[in-house]
């Protein structure tokens, strides 16, 4: 359904996407996972024809993107992270407007609006101005607008950023339901549990490169290793940095997480004693690569290391 070959994107001298190759099959929910600035949003923008690229080939629905942008856009939809709607228009006015600017018959428009309202449970809020909706209701309207052309491919750019867990689950369930309708979803996020929950496949992107792609199970199986990840309770980075600097094979990532790449009992014992001596409390220790989160940290840590 989506094939990306050798995609290169530069912003000036900065390489945002570095020879990306990616394949997404029909009906898949692909999680595009990466730290901030990794290139996720750039990739999604390119797939929607919103950003130009310097090199590479992209085909969507078997059509080259460069020559078929309009046709491809009619069959896909981009749901941006920001609430791209009009606060001063009502829910219905927003939906009518965004439906009316897309090419479709009046009957299809009516049906698609109704379907978008139903999926996002917005019927009771039709006459309410978007600006007066709760954060969650706005998110649902943002998604509803993206469904107005009944797309075959949906691109979600961090759709749950800044919302509470209950609403997050609600949105994730909605997105999961698209799979049953045969839709393909590209879902960008840096929340690992979300990706684990709804995605069939994961592509981990870092520094503009896809460093792993596959099903979650395969990836975890392949990447099982000897690393230990030690998460600390909130501690001051300036305390940790000099401490870790003196340790062999231990790396500090994200200010409060330590990775011991080749763990053994002796090394671990020393580290734990040192942490105790410094009064630093441990929140969690995991051995091997048992979750997407630990895999993600291990794969992307070199670029984010503070040690």
């Amino acid at each position: 359904m989506i094939t990306i070959s050798n995609l290169v994107k530069y912003y000036g001298a900065h390489c945002a996407l570095d020879h990306i190759d990616l394949q997404v099959n029909k009906g898949t929910i692909l999680g595009l996972l990466g730290p901030n600035g990794a290139g996720k949003t750039t990739l999604v923008s390119i797939l929607n024809g919103l950003t130009a690229f310097q090199q590479g080939e992209i085909t969507i629905f078997g059509l080259p993107l460069a020559n078929n942008l309009e046709a491809i856009r009619r069959r896909s939809s981009f749901i941006p992270q920001a609430l791209a709607l009009y606060d001063k228009l009502t829910v219905m006015e927003n939906l009518r407007f965004f439906a009316a600017i897309q090419k479709m018959s009046a009957a299809t428009r009516r049906a698609n609006i109704d379907a978008a309202l139903t999926i996002n449970r917005l019927h009771p809020l039709l006459e309410q101005k978007a600006g007066t909706l709760s954060g969650g209701q706005k998110r649902r309207l943002n998604i509803a607008i993206g469904l107005l052309n009944n797309p075959e491919i949906l691109y979600f750019d961090e759709p749950t950023a800044g919302i509470d867990p209950e609403l997050r689950n609600d949105i994730l369930e909605t997105i999961s339901s698209f799979k049953n309708q045969g839709k393909t979803v590209i879902y960008t996020s840096h929340y690992m549990p979300e990706i684990e929950k709804i995605c069939d496949e994961v592509a981990i992107i870092d520094h503009g490169r896809i460093i792993r792609q596959g099903t979650l199970a395969t990836m975890l199986q392949e990447e099982k290793g000897d690393a230990a990840i030690i998460e600390l309770l909130p501690a001051e980075n300036k305390l940790l940095a000099p401490l870790v600097a003196g340790l062999d094979d231990v790396e500090l990532v994200d200010g409060g997480t330590l990775i011991m790449h080749q763990q053994n009992g002796l090394k671990m014992g020393r580290l734990l004693a040192l942490l105790e001596a410094e009064g630093l409390a441990i929140k969690h220790i995991s051995y091997g690569t048992t979750s997407l989160e630990t895999l993600f940290i291990r794969l992307t840590s070199p670029g984010r290391s503070h040690a």
Partner: protein
Amino acid sequence: MLKAMLLKEIILLSRDKQALAALFIMPAIFILLMSLALKDTFSPERVLLTYALVDQDNSAPSRMIRETLQHSKVMAERPVTITSAAQQEELLNGSYHFVLTINEGLARSLASRQELPSALLQVAAAADLKAEMLTLLQAELAKAVLQLRLTLLQTELTALLPEMAHQLTDIDFDGQDLINISFNRMAAEQRPTSTQQSVPSWIIFGMFFVIIPMSTIFINERRQNTLMRMSAMNISIPALFAGKIAPYLVINQLQVWLMIGVGIFVVPLAGGEALTLGHSLIALFMVSLGLSLAAIGTSVLIAVLAGTVEQATTIGGIINILLGAIGGIMVPKFYMPPAMQDLAAISPMSWGLEGFLDIFVRGLGVEAVLTETLALTGFGLGLLMLAGLIFRAQRGRTA
């Protein structure tokens, strides 16, 4: 698509009270206030000078001078008894422009044909009396004295040559029979009134205020990624801009006709003169469409360049006021010195104003406003193209 854009923009605007006030209420109030405030300025027979007269001679000649001055259309005597120099000063610091004193000895001097050593007429003028008003005052006084002398001469001639009496007619300086001067004044209905001058000025000023709501909506759309979403829905930059141009063309036309309505119906209710439309509605449409494009072009360019709504409204407001000040909206161009009048030519508001004045004041038609219309249209389209190029570059679209 255009219909949806138009509807969206109008709904958003209708829910923005400040924008509605800036677009419709502000120019309507300006039209009403300025038409009434400048009513006398454009009246051909208005009083320019107010004075007090102290007649110390109290003679037939002094009364004749007083009567002649009282016939003046530009001066008005306000009778007052002056008892001290301090009171006179107080009057001149107040609403009196000058105090004329006819000194004792005027009649005697005229009878003896001998000038008295001191001045017969004495004028104490207010400190802020403008030079042109002083010249006018001197002319009116000279006219009164000449009238007096001619009347006396006529009396003497009649006494010397009674047989000529029937041939000597009274000479009246206020009439036009002193010498055959041809005055080609505009017909009364063509004369500019304050309403004819004010309505076009404030229509134009109001039209350019679309900068505020348009840039506010545009920047919010960009900030909230609504523009990006529309792009992802296959809305091209020209279509996006067309979606901005069409609603504001309609809004600008609404402004024009509502303000014309204020000039025709509301200003007379408040005591001003009613607006008359001139003879060419087509010319009116041409100029207003040209102005609309110029205002929209300016608005879109500001919206594209400004980073925030605050920047856009500040920059837009300043540009609007500057263009208005330079372009003769706030101060009519004929009050400006020549250098400023030349400078006015750089303001599109001035082009529009000239076009409207051709229609409303000079009673001209399509041919007369063609140059202004083309200039405004070219200006507007030029800015729209520039805004389009900048917007395209901002979005990093090279494909």
